[in-house]
């Protein structure tokens, strides 16, 4: 079965995604071999759903996006492995966020991943996962220069062996 990548996309949006080719300067193959066994590996998650910790973090800046429609907040949030639906908020102007708010695991399955670690399917779940807000300006300069290096540094601190990214 081959997934229809445009099944749920409004037809008028399709030209913004289809046939655009690689991102500028990002054509060559990049490959980091996964060398451990899964049951010895530490795994982290990343969502672009705009999830944040209600008590301790600022929401993503959707106020500025309202006045600057081509801009999206390029920052990131660390989401602790134990965070539950009552702990997280969701800011994303391009989605109905009700289902993510009700069950954040559909975007960031941190409890399921911890369960797989407890069962020995994976070695460990990262202590901290990652959230960004997926709507970004098309040049991605802030993501390239700041967000990506910071996430890489955090993954190295965790000694994570792999990352599952889920665009919202």
């Amino acid at each position: 079965m081959i997934v229809d990548s445009y099944r749920f996309l409004p037809r008028s949006f399709r030209p913004y995604y289809e046939g655009r080719g690689p991102f500028h300067g990002e054509t060559e193959q990049v490959w980091a071999p996964f060398e451990k066994r899964l049951n010895e590996a530490k795994i982290a998650l990343l969502t672009s759903a705009g999830v944040f910790m209600r008590e301790s973090q600022q929401p993503f800046d959707v106020e500025r996006e309202q006045s600057h429609p081509e801009w999206g907040d390029p920052s990131w949030r660390a989401i602790p492995a134990g965070a539950g639906p009552q702990d997280v908020g969701v800011t994303h102007l391009h989605l109905n966020t009700a289902d993510i708010q009700a069950d954040p695991e559909i975007a960031l399955p941190n409890h399921l991943l911890s369960q797989l670690a407890a069962e020995g399917v994976i070695g460990a779940a990262a202590e901290g996962h990652f959230a960004v807000m997926g709507y970004q300006d098309r040049h991605l300069n802030d993501w390239r220069e700041k967000t990506a290096p910071e996430i890489v540094a955090a993954l190295r601190d965790e000694q994570a062996d792999g990352l599952i990214l889920a665009p919202a």
Partner: protein, 112 residues
């Protein structure tokens, strides 16, 4: 998001992208891809359906750990359990996003 995966992979950390638009992730040259034919906002499935979410997560782990080469794509073989018309409307925000509003206004302007 596929570009973010590339930057992280380039730093030496293996990645897999779980996405509703696997064709776009391929064009953007993500190293490992799991395709899901789910509405936006639901990469791991239906809210509350832990069996479905676990199946997607396990597939992502298998592709992350077991893909043999750059560009590996595996699609998840499950149809969204809500009729298309209903699911198509349900994922969209109540108000158009700022950029969509701007595009609609521009189109109106050019038609005037």
């Amino acid at each position: 998001m596929p570009v973010l995966a590339r930057w992280i992979e380039r730093a030496g950390i293996p990645t897999v992208v779980v996405t509703m638009m696997p064709a776009v992730a391929e064009e953007r040259r993500a190293p490992r891809i799991v395709g899901v034919e789910f509405p936006f906002g639901h990469p791991f499935g239906v809210a509350g359906d832990k069996v479905m979410q676990r199946r997607v997560l396990e597939l992502a782990l298998r592709v992350l750990a077991g893909a043999g080469a750059f560009g590996t794509r595996v699609d998840f073989d499950l149809e969204w359990p809500v009729p298309l018309r209903e699911a198509y409307h349900a994922w969209q925000p109540a108000e158009p996003s700022p950029i969509v509003r701007k595009l609609i206004e521009a189109r109106r302007g050019s038609n005037a």
